[in-house]
Symmetry: C2
Subunit: 155 residues, 2 copies
């Protein structure tokens, strides 16, 4: 059965923060997000892929207004993990295709990624759920991303 | 306002496949998912973090029954990208905390990760949306994960 894509949305007022090469052991994510929560940082995306050599990266997106503060917190957390690096990227936008039954369909994801690829839009991050496929793209690509995805799914 | 966590779910019948060190340029995700879609592979999680030195990793989770076929497709895709490696891990479970207003609350994520950390459960992958925080853990940790998260959020 075909999942129903209901809409395409974007948020260009986000910044991405990545803490790279953190130890992949229990307690690391808890420590980092505990500190972010303490300072009431609002986090949108959280993405962590599998580790390599016992190290992995954790990326978050936050409202641009909080980027400075979130970065500071990550720098301070870093001191307790040891060895990780922090990077911040303000030139991003989050674009989401939202619907129902979104998971289980490599076809929907293929259509999202192909639509973007045809416009030469690079996909910097991907995160999915049962109701959404979200990508991070450059801010300059965000309007075009919404346009081509709207055309692909809504008409 | 406090987001409402409605439930905790898990799926231990999943396998993780990662294609590592793919070029971070337009068309790569489209090519990979196009091939997966062609073979009607049902994909649950898709996780891609930011690239490093122009290369990044894309991980997916699929129903264990499709793992072999999905792996084969990734190996074939790899031939067109050049240079990437494929890894498969069947010893995983996806555990999700589902609710409303889940995003924007570093506090909810902190509670999820802390509950798992207190039980020494390692978080292998993280992917979030507005209605869910999903983690990948070892199969042996999946029952415990649900138990501690249920206790944390539902009582
Ligand atoms: C990297 C981080 O997620 C770690 N694996 C943890 O469990 O906290
Ligand atoms: C890595 C992959 O997502 C690539 N950036 C693409 O746009 O297809």
């Amino acid at each position: 059965e075909s999942p129903a894509v209901r809409g395409v949305s974007r948020d260009s007022k986000q910044s991405k923060l990545t803490i790279s090469a953190v130890p992949d052991r229990p307690g690391i994510a808890a420590a980092l997000f505990g500190r972010l929560a303490e300072k009431s940082i609002m986090v949108d995306m959280i993405v962590q892929n599998v580790s390599d050599n016992g190290l992995t990266d954790i990326s978050i997106t936050v409202n641009s207004d909080m980027a400075q503060q979130a970065e500071q917190i990550m720098v301070e957390s870093n001191e307790s993990f040891g060895g990780a690096t922090i990077s911040r990227d303000d030139d991003i936008a989050k674009v989401s295709v939202v619907g129902v039954g979104m998971k289980s369909q490599a076809g929907v994801a293929a259509r999202v990624f192909s639509a973007l690829a045809r416009s030469r839009i690079n996909i910097m991050m991907i995160s999915t759920s049962e109701i959404s496929i979200s990508v991070v793209v450059r801010q300059a690509d965000s309007e075009n991303s919404v346009r081509v995805l709207h055309k692909e799914f809504i008409g």
